[in-house]
Subunit: 241 residues, 2 copies
DNA sequence: GAATATGTCAAGCGATCGCTTGAACTAGTT
DNA sequence: AACTAGTTCAAGCGATCGCTTGACATATTC
């Protein structure tokens, strides 16, 4: 009783060192970038000793890796759930908009979490240590996403799919990274950090791009064109298959 | 005669220290990122003394700034020339595809130059020193580009334009940054570094997105919709106005 | 209550950071 | 030959880097 109470109090007052380090590092990496943040910056902000990083994680890079694993696990569960919901047995009716939403929306549903920024900004970070983590963490989800998109867009050659995927990926990452340069140009009334608006305005843009006619195919020969949205609705709310 | 010859030979054999530093730093920054490259890395690669950086530029940040100024000057001249060519007196016939091409193509016409990578990768670099340079360097061109896009897309509210601009910007930056993750997924036959393919496949994607119907506007009320391409052609080759 | 496992801490390792210094070298001018 | 201005150089400044160490505190087990 007293023991449990003490344990609870301890847990309520302060997360363990491990989590404090992850929380602090996440914020700092998002703000300044992996390379520009030192291990002492992290432990200072976390209020723990420098050695704790190496005791709990082994290296600075391992901290970054753990940050991504911790956040992406629930996000990817949501992604796969949403994806499963919108790919039924009838391949003919795959909705490009729904697939894009399944892939993008869960990554934006993080509120003001620093991880959204971090994920966007590290996506093009050239530091080898960072890229190593990115490769290890993003691979499987990206594959299942592109596989679904491929089924939904049978009119596209692999090359066209490659370039369109790059556009989708780039737009998504840029929105997440939110470097505030556009805000600087368009004015403070606008912000890329508004998740609802991102889904509302960016998804239709990307859907229009994905479903536009292929560049290479002569206009005559034509395979089945994709449907942009689910038959009955253009919002997320959809009936089960 | 001998003097001029000596000067020429000297110039032919080795660019001056200033340029050697810029060339070396450009490659290293592109490969590893600004924060992960030290001044000694730069001067070692350039084959000059460490102090030369501070004698010629004053700081590491000033080197990054000079790299961007040196490359962007000719690129921005091309951009403005192409933009001037596609915005005539008849606003009604502005071609979204041509405007996008004017903005994007010149940044890709760098061959294998490291600057293309560098520009893409630094665009979302959160390091304050890097962001400072980005803000100072990109502002004016971006404004004139968005102004032209705005004229070409009168059917869009400022908010819709903001989000579509973000998608365009993001796609462009991601393609330039070429983090090779898509290549890893799609296979080695595909590469984002192919400038011709980028223009051929990405511009139509982005044009389709830009010219898609507005999200907010009720379908009934409708201002003039934009033309996707110039009347006679969908390639870069166009007659003068 | 000694033994053991787990975690924290101050101190400091060698290496490297951005940057500075003052002496030396190289023109070209008088 | 003396002078000047522009440039390069080795050496090193204090600070900080990622990471390690060994002493110590705490909690659990037998």
């Amino acid at each position: 009783m007293t023991k449990a109470a003490a344990a609870n109090r301890h847990e309520a007052l302060s997360a363990d060192t491990r989590d404090k380090i992850l929380d602090a590092a996440e914020v700092l990496f998002a703000e300044r970038g992996y390379s520009a943040v030192s291990t002492r910056n992290i432990t200072d902000k976390a209020g723990v000793n420098v050695a704790a990083i190496f005791y709990h994680f082994g290296s600075k890079q391992a901290v970054l890796d753990e940050i991504f694993k911790r956040r992406l696990e629930p996000i990817n569960r949501r992604r796969e759930a949403m994806l499963a919901e919108c790919i039924g047995p009838d391949v003919e009716n795959y909705s490009v908009a729904d697939i894009l939403t399944a892939f993008i929306a869960p990554t934006l549903d993080l509120g003001t979490s620093s991880f959204k920024l971090l994920a966007g900004r590290t996506s093009t970070d050239p530091n080898p240590e960072v890229r190593e983590v990115m490769f290890s963490v993003y691979d499987s989800v990206a594959r299942s996403f592109f596989a679904a998109l491929d089924k939904a867009c049978p009119h596209l050659s692999k090359k066209e799919m490659f370039w369109r995927a790059a556009c989708v990926y780039g737009a998504m990452m840029y929105i997440r990274a939110d470097n505030s340069r556009l805000q600087y140009i368009f004015g403070d009334d606008f912000s890329l950090s508004n998740a609802e608006e991102a889904v509302r305005y960016a998804i239709p843009f990307l859907t229009a791009g994905m479903t536009s006619p292929p560049v290479d195919e002569p206009a005559g020969r034509l395979r089945k064109m994709p449907t942009k949205t689910a038959p009955s609705s253009n919002t997320k709310k959809r009936k089960g298959s």
